[in-house]
């Protein structure tokens, strides 16, 4: 049994983060149990409950670079681990905003060269997908629903480097749809928590919004049309009554939330079937990650789905579901444990699909109202 300690860096989108994570490896090379997060520092995340990770993007590469140095220093000091005691440096090398990804890779390269440590490039989505192993020690295989401001996809996770994309959104991500819903109704950003709060006082059946793509087979989703349908419902009320009452707004939020979670839940049910087919039997667990996973209605629906099949629902704590570096450090540690450290120099990849084997979505762009 040995322990691997990895320093992780993440700066692929709005936040700048560094973390130190420890992985325990059994004598046979297998990862045992959950990891230990020794420190996880995130700069720039205004609200942890934000599906969207805040609304103001950090675009300046130099701002990322400055914050990275600080975050690394803080993470190492909080973990009480000197750089010399670290086994490897992991960094998000894509996908994401080029400036942020570049600064992360440059910083990690410098640290690794200076300390003579292996450098591991991690796909940001792999970081999300492997998080339940870090937090809950989940074993392969499992179905991951990644649902956030920027992402929405089903991944069948069978190994550290084995991800099969079973479906995803063909247009907007749900977190983005919630944000746009809030925008249309004059609610504050981030939209997820605002819409959920309003929806509590609303009647989800007051407006009939579409369930995009439910009438089609497969696990692909669409959320763009839902936004358009909401807009029409809103304009209908305004045309009729000259404005929106507090109750109208609550009803619209409730209807929107119901439609979005219905789609996610039904598509998750189908993805579980597809995953079972691919694994030759029920997948033992459903994991959900991303800011939208904080939505209570969605969480309830997924829980009953899992209960009905007698499988576990694993939802890592929100701080490891929104962008963070602990998941990157963990994914790096898993790669190190599995001897998947590529020797070549790390190249930033702003676009980097996790699963290269699945055909790309045809992206009909069909709007939900008619889909």
């Amino acid at each position: 049994m040995d322990k691997l300690t990895v320093l992780g860096l993440e700066s692929s989108c709005d936040d700048t983060a560094a973390a130190v994570v420890e992985l325990t490896r059994a004598a046979d090379g297998q990862v045992t149990g959950p990891g230990r997060v020794l420190a996880s520092v995130v700069h720039g995340q205004t609200d942890l409950h934000a599906a969207f990770g805040g609304v103001v993007p950090e675009l300046a590469a130099r701002a990322h670079a400055e914050k990275l140095d600080l975050a690394v220093e803080q993470a190492l000091s909080q973990a009480e681990v000197p750089l010399s005691a670290v086994d490897a440096i992991a960094v998000t090398s894509g996908p994401g905003l080029i400036g942020g990804v570049m600064s992360g890779v440059m910083c990690a390269r410098g640290l690794a060269a200076g300390a003579g440590l292996p450098l591991i490039g991690v796909n940001h989505l792999a970081g999300h997908a492997l998080t339940p192993r870090m937090t809950d020690g989940l074993e392969f295989p499992y179905l991951m629903l990644l649902v956030s401001g920027g992402h929405c996809q089903f991944l069948l996770v069978r190994g550290v480097d084995s991800f099969t994309r079973l479906g995803g959104t063909i247009d907007d991500a749900p977190g983005e749809a919630f944000d746009k819903c809030a925008r249309l109704l004059g609610l504050e950003q981030p939209g997820g928590p605002a819409v959920e709060r309003e929806a509590r006082a609303g009647d989800p059946t007051a407006h009939r919004l579409p369930r995009p793509l439910l009438d089609r087979p497969g696990c692909d989703m669409s959320f763009s049309g839902l936004k358009t349908a909401l807009l029409r419902a809103r304009d209908g009320i305004v045309a009729q009554k000259g404005g929106l009452s507090v109750q109208d707004r609550a009803d619209l939020c409730a209807a929107f939330q119901a439609a979005a979670s219905d789609v996610l839940i039904e598509k998750t049910r189908r993805a579980l079937d597809v995953a079972a087919g691919a694994c030759g039997g029920q997948v033992p667990a459903l994991a959900v990650a991303g800011g939208v996973a904080a939505n209570t209605a969605l969480r309830k629906g997924l829980q009953s789905l899992a209960d009905a099949r007698g499988i576990a629902l694993v939802a890592p704590p929100l701080r490891y579901c929104t962008d963070n570096a602990a998941m990157i450090a963990w994914a790096g540690a898993e790669r190190l444990a599995a001897d998947l450290v590529e020797p070549q120099d790390l190249v930033p990849r702003p676009r980097w699909p996790l699963d290269r084997t699945s055909p790309s979505l045809l992206g009909s762009g069909k709007k939900g109202a008619k889909a």
Binding site: G99, G150, I170, D172, T228, L362, K370
Partner: protein, 164 residues
Amino acid sequence: MPDRRIIKEITLGSEAATLAFATALAPMLRAGDTLLLEGPVGAGKSFFARSVIQARLAALGRSEDVPSPTFTLVQVYDLDDVELWHCDLYRLTDPAEAYELGLDEAFDQAICLVEWPGRLGGLQPEGALRLDLRADAGEDGNPDRRIATLSGSAEWARRLETEE
């Protein structure tokens, strides 16, 4: 002030008509061209942009995901001899941030489709073609009907005329 005049205004009676319009415009765009997509949330800016991108990819015999750029601000597509940048600038707080994204270079060298171009302030490229989309249900209450207005320079008017 950029030299920009209304070149044409057309009514798109259905989603299929919008798709056809985007598909017809797609091959005309070349390196250094910028299309500014204006219109409120739900007007169909993303649908239009996605249709243009898919048409260009299809012309190369490819099909790829065209995810929303709202979160990442920019999605870049490699069209073999030219890059296509699909931008959603809604989250920009200052026009200067466009430089951080590398948009100034992209405006010169790539094909750029820009949603929420108002965020660019004075940095909008002068020679850009602008497409305004607005919903107009009309008397029959058709929710998919859009009025599309193209405006741009005399050069654009000429190009759209001859290449059509």
